[in-house]
Assembly symmetry: C2
Amino acid sequence: MSLLSNILFLNNQPTIHDIAKALSIDSSTVSRALNDSPRVTKHTKERILAKANELGYQRNLLALNLRKKKTNTIGVVVPRISRYFFSSVIQGIEETTYLSGYNVIICQSLESLDREKKIIETLAANRVDGLLISVSMETSNKEHFKVLDNNKIPYVFFDRHLNSKTDSNVLIDDFKGGFDITEHLILRGCQKIVHFSGPLDQAIYKNRFLGYKSALNKYGIEFKQEYVLTSRLMENEGYKGVDELTKSALVFDAIFAANDLSAIGAMKSLKEKKISIPEDVAIVGFSNEPISSVIEPSLTTIDQSGLNLGVTATNLLFKSIAEKERFKQETIILQANLVERDSTRK
Amino acid sequence: MSLLSNILFLNNQPTIHDIAKALSIDSSTVSRALNDSPRVTKHTKERILAKANELGYQRNLLALNLRKKKTNTIGVVVPRISRYFFSSVIQGIEETTYLSGYNVIICQSLESLDREKKIIETLAANRVDGLLISVSMETSNKEHFKVLDNNKIPYVFFDRHLNSKTDSNVLIDDFKGGFDITEHLILRGCQKIVHFSGPLDQAIYKNRFLGYKSALNKYGIEFKQEYVLTSRLMENEGYKGVDELTKSALVFDAIFAANDLSAIGAMKSLKEKKISIPEDVAIVGFSNEPISSVIEPSLTTIDQSGLNLGVTATNLLFKSIAEKERFKQETIILQANLVERDSTRK
DNA sequence: CTGTTAGCGCATTCAC
DNA sequence: GTGAATGCGCTAACAG
């Protein structure tokens, strides 16, 4: 029999039927034993567990999930995992899911709408129980979320959202962040503040921009369009932004960059041009990238606490999953604080 | 009928049977049509597709994969996605899988053996077609890989491996890297080179260490144990390392850190202590972290090209998956080049 | 070209 | 406490 079972099991992964056959019992009993059902004798339970171990049995989650119509898995979609902000959000997500036994599938859209579409379809096809997403820079509507609605898969936007009250969102107060950071610069004596902005059909960049304008307005500083440089906020765009500024001979005494990458790029360019940042030009970024404190200790930023955001978003999603039928949409806005790295500056 | 179908489909995700019933045909025809089989009339194909669209049908990959015994998915396990090196490897992996229609599940062990075990079990239970892994710092044997062997799931180690010829590995030539970097320091006049090393039961750290020793030997410099500081190479450990060195009053003129994090930590500490790095102490890291060039333009590193590593590892895994039965183990060693960031140094 | 049948691996109802 | 039967959603062999 040992030989027979060896032949039978050689090329196939063992199933509950295999272990049932080997023990001359029914597979349903094996199933119960493996799930530690109280309706199975201790004795048979032990025999089954021993056999399962012997055969190297590993339960098939595909079959289980198909049967249960639940995967215990949530999908996470971010533009790029290499961005510190997103990996810290993921950290928060995983901490939360780990405790409740949920699994996480992490996907990167790489700022491409096409990839985002494909990812969402795949996740829906894989029947994830829910979805956490921060949309790509190319995403401005939620057509491709219909698949999720059709399949009743709940989802929560975090950080990068679509500005809709009918969605569930966990957000940073970007308006206040933009306002605070601009005010901070003004109070330090800056009057000609350049703003490196992102795509304005993206709610977060629009709100940061509006915060910027609002602060200027409060202090009676005239808003000038030429002080706003719009890009996709990649590092090289921050770099080129400074180039443009110096070439155009526009006078400026501060830069408020709408994200960390562009701030870093700007910093590099200023350094190369030997424009002394602490004295002549202040840069303020929108980030919780810790590395920035090394690059430029005087860089002031808005700390977004990705960890907290991740935890909050996951819990909101869990709530939606639990409520199942017609879950109520909800928007949570977290406050982010201005962090001045180097308080010795004037 | 429209009402009936609405009631029927309200709470459940539509299946091929639903669309078959609605069209009074068999589900197998629907299946064929959805897979664009040539054995279905154009006419019925169109009817089916229209209906599928109308119902918001989304195929269930759980069922498909269960049936086909293939998931078209590979698992990737790394210590931390936030480490630039790993996220660049992932970049390479995704580029390769994207082209062949494979999906990727990314998991973080967070340097914990326990988590690594659980992750591998989950991936095995989910029947991934293969696995790419860079082990945690706590991993020194492959007991927990038995599940994969039992289920005939091929796997390839990249970067952090277990030094076994019976595995498939895609590696960096760490010995040569350690040698090159040490030689580089010696040729620049350094004689008292401190080495920040990692757990020596990890092949990569051992090999970097052996490369270090070998270079010292070549140039007739005596190896001294007190010049080697072993830790888990986190940033704060690099920081504390320098503290220890200055406290112990050990004379040194260079540091070779076995990874980027500890190099960054060391750099910070030196900066704070106002020890002029370019003149008195040289630091050399083992990394392709691009940010380091901003932190300290004079930091020389070994460039590991994570992208290339990811591509190579994925292709090797694909080969193993294709060969299926008794795939041959293979080790590929990639060369990494020394990159001197600031060539103006003496 | 389309329908019938069977089964992937599992859990769950209903019997006994 | 255990077995028999059924079905999750899908594809593939076999008919016709």
